[in-house]
């Protein structure tokens, strides 16, 4: 489907660290996970991304051991762990609610996992100090969770989950409760820690910006299925389906009829345009079948007079302009009523040539900037 090489092929020479094989999970009549197969490799920062209810948290909990798959197997380094209870798995998890032990100090919380392994106390103290330094909470070691701020509690939760030096760390929406600035700061901290300690991270999130920022690969999920697994770049520029294209970033979708493939590219006849429009990407479709053309808003050019291009031109009226400082978003209405978004950088401080409301404009994209989708 995608002609752009994904990083998966580079990694597939290694053996996968985690494998979900035909995993299904049913709760009564409700199917949360539907025959899912997925490989995750060592040292990845992998995100499970999707809307609420898509099954991503259920998948994570099955990996941690808090849910058992109804069907299928989960392998860790080649071994089936589906029947191993959570306290015996070499995996640690950071919970969305942080789940700090309210009756223990920060120190004791972090030391808890180490005590279960029956390490000698001087080793435990040493490791706890290391962790406190890592998350910069050394002065707060004797406090109890109810005496800490939200951001501090989150860091205790992180330190506690890393204390045992797990090879795999699961994070369930870890940044949801933080405000925007703290969230961005913590995203980079997480990436640094992951690289420094060489741990595989699997993070569950519904925030696609977050997933794009931190991940090496993202698995996009919907209704219990994985729709596409790829690098952030690939997902953005080469989405496999309309739902992926719409979920990640903004996109303009044109519905049309497949008219074949010539030396320019895939031909699409859609109602918006008198001419045929093109994408340079090839696609496996039958003549006359319905396909979609997807163009990201920043890939569209906008002109006040008809540009000198042979194809991929649309005419419309500017209905709305959103000023964003460094860029502007233009909402252009086509004759048939569809709305197109165009994002352009504001290259000049002022310009007589600038576009304003109710202007008649012409839009253009390069065939290389468009993607065609069959679903």
């Amino acid at each position: 489907m995608n002609e752009i090489e994904s990083e998966t092929t580079k990694l597939s020479s290694d053996k996968p660290y985690i494998q979900f094989q035909n995993v299904s999970k049913k709760f009564g009549n409700f199917t949360a996970i539907n025959d899912l197969t997925l490989d995750i490799f060592n040292n990845e920062f992998f995100s499970l991304l999707g809307p609420s209810g898509c099954g991503k948290t259920t998948l994570l909990r099955m990996l941690a051991g808090f849910e058992k798959p109804t069907n299928g197997r989960i392998l860790l380094e080649g071994e089936d762990i589906s029947n191993i209870p959570p306290h015996l798995r070499p995996i640690n998890m950071m919970f969305q609610s942080y789940a700090l032990f309210p009756h223990m100090t920060v120190e004791k919380n972090i030391a808890f996992g180490l005590k279960q392994d029956k390490l000698p106390s001087n080793k435990i103290n040493q490791r706890v100090d290391e962790m406190l330094e890592l998350v910069e909470l050394t002065e707060f070691s004797k406090r109890k969770p109810n005496q800490l701020s939200g951001g501090q509690r989150q860091r205790v939760a992180l330190a506690r989950s890393l204390a045992k030096r797990p090879k795999l760390l699961l994070l369930d929406e870890p940044l949801g409760a933080l405000d925007k600035r703290l969230r961005e700061q913590t995203q980079f901290e997480l990436m640094n820690i992951q690289e420094k300690l060489g741990i595989t991270f699997i993070i569950v999130t519904h925030d696609q910006e977050e997933a794009m920022t931190v991940s090496s690969r993202i698995g996009v999920m919907d209704s219990g299925n994985v729709i596409q697994v790829s690098t952030p770049n690939n997902l953005y520029e080469a989405p496999a389906t309309k739902s992926v294209a719409e979920f990640i970033g903004n996109v303009n979708l044109f519905e049309g009829i497949y008219k074949g493939f010539d030396d320019i590219g895939t031909k699409l006849k859609c109602e918006h345009s008198e001419s045929i429009v093109y994408s340079s990407q090839s696609i496996d479709a039958k003549n006359g079948s319905k396909i979609w053309l997807a163009v990201r808003p920043e890939k569209l050019e906008i002109f006040k007079s008809p540009p000198d291009y042979k194809y991929n031109i649309l005419k419309g009226t500017v209905i709305d302009i959103g000023y964003g400082g460094s860029f502007s978003t233009y909402h252009v209405k086509l004759p048939n009523g569809n709305m197109i978004s165009v994002i352009r950088a504001n290259r000049e401080r002022t310009s007589e040539k600038s576009i304003t409301w109710n202007d008649e404009v012409y839009l253009h994209w390069s065939s290389k900037s468009a993607v065609v989708l069959t679903e």
Partner: protein, 265 residues
């Protein structure tokens, strides 16, 4: 925004007067020189001295205290397990019957519970005495403890248990090291509740007790039937005093602990 109106204040004053006036009168007349409840004949502690010399009351008190302590402790143990099973163990075979048996004793009339237990002891040829009363008290008390624990567990954050498991703690150890310390206030109030119920029980004790194991409520009941003497007032006042001291000190300990935590931060 929700105002505390005059009506509310009235309701509270009337309500609490209704609740407390009998108790206050009881205490006052325990110090009455005369035997009559309506005529104040002067301050006297003679009923208390008579109480001290009343061997049967002292025996009954001792029986009651033993039964209350043992039954509360065992009931708290069983009830805590039951409360956790009901909230955390999901579905299992026979769950409906189990939860039915947990809630029923709170509403089934005591005469029925007492009668059924007595007939059971007879059928199993167990001699009635302090042992059977204790068994009976454990049985109905554990249900109250279960309800208290269940209520606490319903607001308990499950992910804390999961975090402990995730960090390598076995389920059993997690209960003792993580869950129990957190729900301890509920467990303690369950114990106190059982203790009170046992201390207070007349009907079930009457059915299930035996010779030589007269409890204090049974003794008081027979005294009341025979005729009203202020010795009962004296006993009541002592009980009320002990309970009030207990409750007030518990509240003060609680407040002190909270202050200690606040200072430490």
């Amino acid at each position: 925004m929700i105002k505390f109106t005059k009506f509310n204040l009235c309701a509270l004053i009337l309500g609490f007067s209704f609740l407390y006036i009998p108790i206050v009168l009881l205490i006052i007349f325990s110090f009455n020189e005369s035997k009559l409840v309506t005529v104040w004949a002067g301050f006297s502690t003679k009923w208390y001295t008579e109480l001290f010399n009343n061997q049967s009351i002292k025996d009954a008190t001792w029986v009651t205290i033993q039964v209350a302590f043992i039954s509360s402790t065992v009931a708290t143990f069983l009830g805590t397990i039951a409360g956790i099973v009901i909230t955390r163990f999901g579905s299992f075979k026979g769950r409906t019957l189990f939860s039915g048996m947990i809630y029923a004793p709170m509403v089934v009339p005591e005469v029925i519970i007492g009668l059924s237990l007595l007939l059971t002891f007879v059928a199993l040829t167990i001699d009635r005495g302090i042992f059977t009363v204790t068994l009976a008290h454990i049985t109905f008390s554990m249900c109250y403890v279960a309800v208290v624990v269940q209520s606490r567990m319903s607001s308990y954050d499950d992910s804390i248990t999961e975090a402990a498991l995730d960090l390598g703690c076995t389920p059993l150890k997690t209960f003792f090291v993580v869950t129990l310390p957190i729900i301890m206030p509920a467990v303690v109030s369950g114990w106190l509740l059982s203790f009170t119920l046992s201390l207070d029980d007349l009907v079930i004790a009457s059915f299930t007790s035996g010779p030589g194991a007269t409890t204090l409520p049974m003794k008081i009941y027979s005294m009341v039937r025979l005729g009203v003497t202020p010795e009962i007032n004296a006993v009541s006042t002592i009980l009320i005093g002990l309970v009030s001291i207990g409750v007030v000190s518990a509240a003060m300990i609680n407040k002190y602990q909270k202050q200690k935590e606040y200072v430490q931060s």
